[in-house]
């Protein structure tokens, strides 16, 4: 049985990813309750909410990273381009190739900058040197890191600064050309200048990528996203266009949250 390519089925559906009726438990504790959310293609969706509200869990459902958490259990349906990503014919590694992820803490591989960017390509058997060189240059330019590192591609990625490392991790994810990018508080460990750079990048990247970003920084959500979702205690409280969300929130608890009345 050959797994169908994920992007082929049902292109008529408007949403890139649709999460419907999802419940998640860690052992006996339920963390997401009957949650449904649609992710618009080629746009930035920000997920905000207080700590422990389940926003990271929701994000990690979309590339099935939660499969790796012992004791995690899930019910409900998540479709990408109309296809159930938890279906029996889906190869998880194929899915993750289509859905890249950038983590909260920069986690470059110990090894050269070049090896970091090409890892995702090499594990798929793309080893042609000229191709790799081109791809490394292209993705590093895309994240505005090329000028800083072009003379030291063979040196360790661990010698880069935190901001550079995070941009490298973004480049590493972009190198395999994912259609969706998941970002888990990508700027939380960075200083204001590097944060601004990452935010700028996010806005640029949405031309080709669907971006879902978890953040606890409401200004960041306001600056970068097109759609904002507010999660509280494992439930989706509000989902709206970012402009409407921050100026005219419907739910009183959203209002309380964005005005800082509770954390």
């Amino acid at each position: 049985m050959d797994p169908q390519p994920l992007e082929k089925t049902n292109p008529s559906l408007g949403d890139k990813i649709s999460v419907s009726g999802v419940n998640v438990w860690y052992a006996a504790q339920q963390v997401l309750f009957d949650l449904s959310i649609a992710i618009r293609p080629c746009a930035v969706t920000a997920i905000i909410g207080p700590s422990g509200c389940g926003k990271t869990t929701l994000l990690r459902l979309m590339n099935r990273m939660n499969d790796r958490v012992p004791g995690a259990r899930m019910t409900g349906l998540i479709r990408m381009d109309g296809r159930d990503i938890y279906g029996p014919d889906v190869q998880v590694s194929e899915l993750r190739k289509r859905v890249g992820m950038v983590f909260q803490k920069p986690n470059p591989f110990p090894g050269s900058i070049f090896d970091n960017v090409t890892f995702g390509l090499k594990i798929r058997g793309m080893v042609l040197r000229s191709f790799l060189n081109d791809r490394v240059e292209r993705t590093l330019r895309q994240v505005h890191l090329w000028d800083e590192v072009k003379d030291k591609l063979k040196t360790s990625a661990l010698h880069l600064s935190g901001g550079q490392q995070q941009r490298l991790c973004l480049a590493r994810a972009l190198a395999v050309e994912p259609s969706v990018l998941l970002m888990d508080e990508p700027a939380s460990s960075l200083d204001p200048i590097n944060t601004a750079r990452i935010e700028e990048l996010i806005v640029q990247l949405k031309a080709q990528h669907t971006i879902v970003m978890v953040t606890h920084n409401m200004q960041q959500a306001g600056r970068t996203s097109d759609v904002t979702a507010f999660l509280h205690k494992g439930r989706l409280i509000e989902l709206a266009d970012t402009a409407t969300f921050f100026t005219n929130p419907k739910s009183p608890s959203t209002q309380d949250y964005i005005t800082g009345r509770f954390r």
């Binding site: 590339n63 990273m65 790796r68 590694s93 194929e94 899915l95 993750r96 190739k97 890249g100 992820m101 983590f103 803490k105 986690n107 470059p108 591989f109 110990p110 090894g111 050269s112 890892f119 995702g120 090499k122 594990i123 798929r124 063979k154 040196t155 360790s156 661990l158 991790c169 590493r172 994810a173 395999v176």
Partner: protein, 296 residues
């Protein structure tokens, strides 16, 4: 009177300790350390001095003899080198595989706990017991006889618990973020293991394995039980050959009633220590090269 407080007690104690250190305790500790190192060096120098007459190529490449001056260490040296290689081959890969399985495989927590407990117990079993087990299992039941292979298997069995424990530690020290990063790029668990986790854990794995194996190869007791004797007139040329080893040779020479054999024993000790030293330096070199390759 103030009530007793552990906080205040610790503070006073630390204060007092700091004063003691300033008042000469630090110096005393340093002196003691230096004395121990010096004693070890003196002992090594003494061995050198005793054995210096025998530390030549004739001794190194000669065969054993009942005449002390004519006796050489070649069969024992080759036996030890063979054994070193065999134990490395037989315990490294299985040990690593078991460690990976325990750390990354789908083993229930209960089974893991049970296995860990048994591994630490096995690591503490006296070597003589391993010798007896090897004699019965390999030499007799599997009918391999008393040969290099059964000796290697016995010592590998003895090295295995320590190898597994050190490999597990090394793998566990690799941060989980590394695997997350690899898997999030679409690497399968095996790819993440092979291309990211094992290379990052390799320096730790190597030093752990080298340490336990070079320790094992210095053992005489299990092999004496297994039936190794000192007087073997040839160097082993296959794993089925009869063998002798440096520790066994040292044991027999130092047990001889004639004092003429003392220099032989001393010289053999120096050679054994030399092998261990070379082995460790080699491990250090590989380790540093690897770190440079990975981290640059």
């Amino acid at each position: 009177m103030r009530p007793f407080s552990l906080f205040a007690f610790f503070e006073r104690m630390e204060h007092g300790l700091a004063q003691l250190v300033r008042g000469g305790l630090g110096l005393a500790v340093r002196l003691m350390t230096m004395t121990i190192i010096l004693l070890a060096l003196v002992w090594l120098g003494y061995l050198f001095w005793i054995g210096k007459a025998r530390l030549n190529t004739e001794f190194l490449f000669g065969f054993n003899s009942v005449v002390a001056d004519k006796a050489g260490v070649y069969p024992a040296l080759m036996g030890s080198l063979w054994l070193l290689l065999m134990v490395f081959l037989l315990s490294f890969l299985p040990g690593l595989a078991i460690a990976v399985h325990l750390e990354r495989g789908h083993t229930s927590r209960r089974a893991k706990h049970f296995i860990s407990l048994n591994l630490s117990n096995l690591a503490g079993v006296p070597s003589v017991v391993y010798g007896l087990a090897g004699l019965e299992l390999f030499a007799r039941q599997l009918d391999l006889g008393i040969c290099l292979l059964s000796a290697s298997l016995t010592l590998s069995l003895m090295a295995l618990p320590t190898v597994i424990i050190t490999c597990r530690e090394a793998i566990r020290r690799v941060p989980a973020e590394l695997e997350d990063g690899a898997v999030a790029l679409g690497a399968t668990p095996l790819q993440a293991l092979w291309f990211q986790i094992l290379p990052a854990a390799f320096p730790g794995i190597l030093s752990g394995v080298m340490l336990s194996i070079s320790r094992i190869v210095g053992e005489a007791a299990p092999l004496l039980v297994l039936g190794a004797v000192a007087f073997v007139p040839f160097a082993p040329s296959s794993v089925w050959d009869y063998f002798t080893l440096l520790p066994v040779q040292i044991f027999f020479w130092s047990n001889q009633s004639q004092p003429d054999f003392a220099p032989n024993a001393a010289a053999a000790v120096v050679i054994l220590l030399g092998i261990t030293l070379i082995f460790h330096l080699l491990a250090l070199w590989i380790r540093n090269r690897w770190k440079k390759r990975i981290l640059l």
